[in-house]
Symmetry: C2
Subunit: 430 residues, 2 copies
Amino acid sequence: MTAPLRVALLGCGTVGSAVLRLIEEQSGDLAARIGRSIEVVGIAVRRPAHHPDVPQHLLTTDSAALVRRDDVDLVVEVIGGIEPARSLLYAAFEAGKSVVSANKALLAEDGPGLHAAAAKAGVDLYYEAAVAGAIPLLRPLRESLAGDQLRRVVGIVNGTTNYILSRMAETGAGFAEALAEATELGYAEADPTADVDGFDAAAKAAILASLAFHTPVSSADVHREGISAVSATDVARAAEIGCTVKLLAICERVPNGDADSVAVRVHPAMIPTSHPLASVGGAFNAVFVEAEAAGQLMFYGQGAGGEPTASAVLGDLVAVARNRVAGASGQGPTGYADLAVRPMAETPTRYHVSLDVADKPGVLAAVAQEFARHEVSISTVRQTGRGDAATLVIVTHSAPDAALSATISALRDMPAVRGVTSVLRVEGLS
Amino acid sequence: MTAPLRVALLGCGTVGSAVLRLIEEQSGDLAARIGRSIEVVGIAVRRPAHHPDVPQHLLTTDSAALVRRDDVDLVVEVIGGIEPARSLLYAAFEAGKSVVSANKALLAEDGPGLHAAAAKAGVDLYYEAAVAGAIPLLRPLRESLAGDQLRRVVGIVNGTTNYILSRMAETGAGFAEALAEATELGYAEADPTADVDGFDAAAKAAILASLAFHTPVSSADVHREGISAVSATDVARAAEIGCTVKLLAICERVPNGDADSVAVRVHPAMIPTSHPLASVGGAFNAVFVEAEAAGQLMFYGQGAGGEPTASAVLGDLVAVARNRVAGASGQGPTGYADLAVRPMAETPTRYHVSLDVADKPGVLAAVAQEFARHEVSISTVRQTGRGDAATLVIVTHSAPDAALSATISALRDMPAVRGVTSVLRVEGLS
């Protein structure tokens, strides 16, 4: 066995330190699997004093110099965020080094540019850890299903929001209360914006859609709604119709002759409790895939955490290291399809709507007329209560999202409607 | 775009004709993904007259000549069975052609030899379709989890037996009756031996274990029990304790200091209905994976059928074609670990046992004494009925399989035991 492959580690937080530990613990196995041993020769951190457990001579604050060092063969980036990660990756490629990254935000913002730079340099860019932590998902989409036509990818890809929604369902709490609990228990960060407003899930959706449909999709293309507007009433209404509320990342190919488009969105939705995604709890993620020939597939596992994420990073590290040993680079994704992104307004969805109405003759007819006026067809109507406290619960058929939201606006203005108490999209109902 | 890559198809049954159709239907996408178009230039079949729908000029009965033809770049083998498939694969490698195979029996019998021949020739051997049909499983095991340490792979990998066991649970039917129904409906073949006796699952288990543990495991290493001895009583007993009976393929790494071994087995077992594998029905397959860092993962999808299997074949075809275009070969599995296979007798399992006993003082003590004599610890005992018709239902703790089966033999010889009415292993109970 020849000289070891030398790795630069950028970032040494929860994931980085797990990567470091696994490389050390499994050094024999990794060497056997790769054909050469792996040695970490530098670790870039912002504050070396915060890392007393790491060999101090490896620490540096000069990440830009580290990725260019001649004695570095491979770069592992677990800093996260756009800068300085983006500049460091481009610098690494320019210096001829393959990169393993866990950076969903960066890949979702600049995937095509980064892939082009890696391809130009003849090196690899792998990022399995960026979506759904330990679940092998990107390689299956990119390679295993490369001979199939994907229709739909639907996933629960954010653990924080999944925890909050689960607690709301279990305890009847509102969003604010459940978020406070999640923060206290460490399931939500001090600034929970990236999670609860759907930014994290949207970045993952962009990456999934790009790979699934062989077309460039960035975060900006993803329609994004978070869970802060989900109310205890929404969750209770979902339970009444045998559903549960989940934050879904949905990537669809919309057939349209020779001009197919893609629709990519993140929003809370009611799904039937019988749906396999409904029972995915807490820290777990799951992704459903529908393909023409393969049919339905599901991938399930831990979506976050140091060790699971490090497992995905190490898998990629073995792959790029083996490619390096073989003097080759792996097969990157293809973005040949260049499909248009369909705006949310035109994307077909279904709504579940609860209205407080006066129980007078003609109210249901007037409400139904409003749906009809927007060409939204109603699937079911249920009326509960009588007199002043009557409630209409309506589930629509599929219609363009703009028509549905226009209907809701119109309903709010109807004199017979005292209040629209719950509006949520519905997925997976037959 | 340069000249097409030329493919020889060996076999044109359900899977082969689906492969042929998909290559045609998706020719544009495949070309874009590969960088060159794909053209099928020959199809080897035994009886050309049986394939009226296939371009007749492509048909040949001389498969040995086809794989060696100079105008063939890649070989897809969907014949199945050991010969002539084995000789054809070796001939293809010698002629410098990469191979995509769906042949579980052959890979389970001769995986290391075939991989060595492919590596020597610098070509690829891919076989995602050999295990669990459309589910991307082998590539994740081989690549995505290459930086992790796998502990356990447990799967439902045979649809025929899964259908039969499901029907037994639903209708209370015995094995023979459920098999007859499966045969009538086309879920079981005229000769169901390969499925119901566990040969099919054992081949898949061998392949899974080889990849999961980086060690050569062949079908002959797999302890194999089919489902023909599963009785309606077994299924009813399982339901009484909140379990369901499934045929499981179980691959475990058994820690033992520096001399870890692997245990690979296929047998029916009771699993709790709350276990994710319990709800896997009919034609679906699912595989649970436990890894040190990644934790629990599950893969779910269609395990058989022409289109799903063809999806897996096409995914591999894209991979080997891209490698061919790049002038490289992909990363094969590594078998460096060379772990010993632990015999079934020494493998720890748990039993569920039902005994018809006389309800007399001292019977339970005598039975318990028999377990103790074999150093088998009892987890739960439940006695139902009184007098002549008393039944003891015992679930053991984990013990070496030989100790458990010796206990059962001894119980059969006890005067106080009128009959051992049900014996089945238990998995996944806490």
